[in-house]
Amino acid sequence: MEEVKNKLKEFFMSDLGVDGSVLNFDTALFGDEIGLDSVDSLEIISFVDDTFGVSMTGVDKENFQSIDTIAAFIEKNKA
């Protein structure tokens, strides 16, 4: 699980330009703090699909709340 979370954090920093110093595993991704918007969800879904082979298209918004929730979804759904 930690490896998944670290890969996600690296992606948010390198691909979406999120400041790593304010990005914890439980930080709300789509609030004011980080500044991601819903359009970024396509980037996240694509990364998760390519990296972990898990489809997040059409899943509940709650799963995208934080690195913790995305990692939990990946763990639960990966083959």
Binding site: S38, V39, L42, I45, S46, D49, D50, T57, G58
Partner: protein, 243 residues
């Protein structure tokens, strides 16, 4: 190789779009839900003209069937460049005769079906950093015709989703536009009594019905690079009916 999916492509405007895109060099997926023979005839025609493609039976108002179609098409060809959301139904009913089943059927196919297909291809197009979606709307979304409350509402929704998707996906090289045809000579129009049809023609400034090929020509132009800077637009093609 470029790949196009046309939903509802076994007859009418969808068929004309499939044939035209195949002539433009697209490997064309002819989606259909019931007319096996008509879909195969469309594919035969494409192949006779030197094109390529496949038929794919799927009810696009069912998410699982849409997902399976897009997955199988991608597995077969490795990319999806164009989606023409065309599969739809018309059910004319005056407000007080409106049946809830009609409302569900129209919204399921004309709205949910379009959304499901757009969602399913969007990730593939995102990864390619290119793609074009054309949503078949209707002049009914711009020009009120009594009895078409439900149909026009679904097509109004198509116009709105076209604009929103264009904004949402534009940054990733994906264009989304809509075509809103008026009276087009298809089996649906042919089934209308001649006197009624004459009345319709009188209302069209160009004094004739359009053809499915003319709609397909517009779709062909929209998906081409000549329209590379055009997104979020609804192209009315109605011989002036809505003026």
């Amino acid at each position: 190789m470029k790949v196009a999916i046309v939903t509802g492509a076994s007859k009418g405007i969808g068929k004309a779009c499939a044939l035209r895109l195949a002539r433009d060099g697209y490997t064309t997926v002819i989606n259909y839900s019931s007319s096996d023979e008509a879909a195969l005839q469309t594919l035969d025609q494409i192949k006779a003209e030197g094109g390529d493609g496949m038929v794919y039976k799927a009810n696009v108002s069912v998410l699982a069937e849409v997902k399976a179609m897009v997955r199988d098409v991608f597995k077969a060809y490795g990319r999806i460049d164009v989606l023409v959301n065309n599969a739809g139904i018309v059910r004319d009913e005056y407000l007080l005769m409106m049946n809830p089943d009609t409302v569900d059927k129209c919204f399921n196919l004309n709205v949910k079906g379009y959304l499901y297909c757009a969602q399913a291809v969007a990730l593939k197009m995102f990864k390619q950093k290119s793609g074009v979606i054309v949503n078949m709307s209707s002049v009914s979304s711009k020009f009120a015709l009594p009895g078409q409350t439900v149909y026009s509402a679904t097509k109004g929704a198509v116009n709105s989703m076209t604009q929103t998707l264009a904004k949402e996906l534009g940054g990733y090289g994906i264009r989304v536009n809509a075509v809103a045809p008026g009276f087009i000579s298809t089996e649906m129009i042919e089934a209308i009594p001649e006197e009624t049809r004459k009345g319709y023609v009188e209302r069209v400034p160009l004094k004739r019905f359009g053809t499915a090929d003319e709609v397909a020509n517009l779709v062909s132009a929209i998906v081409s690079d000549q329209f590379a800077y055009v997104t979020g637009q609804v192209f009315v093609m109605d011989g002036g009916l809505s003026l």
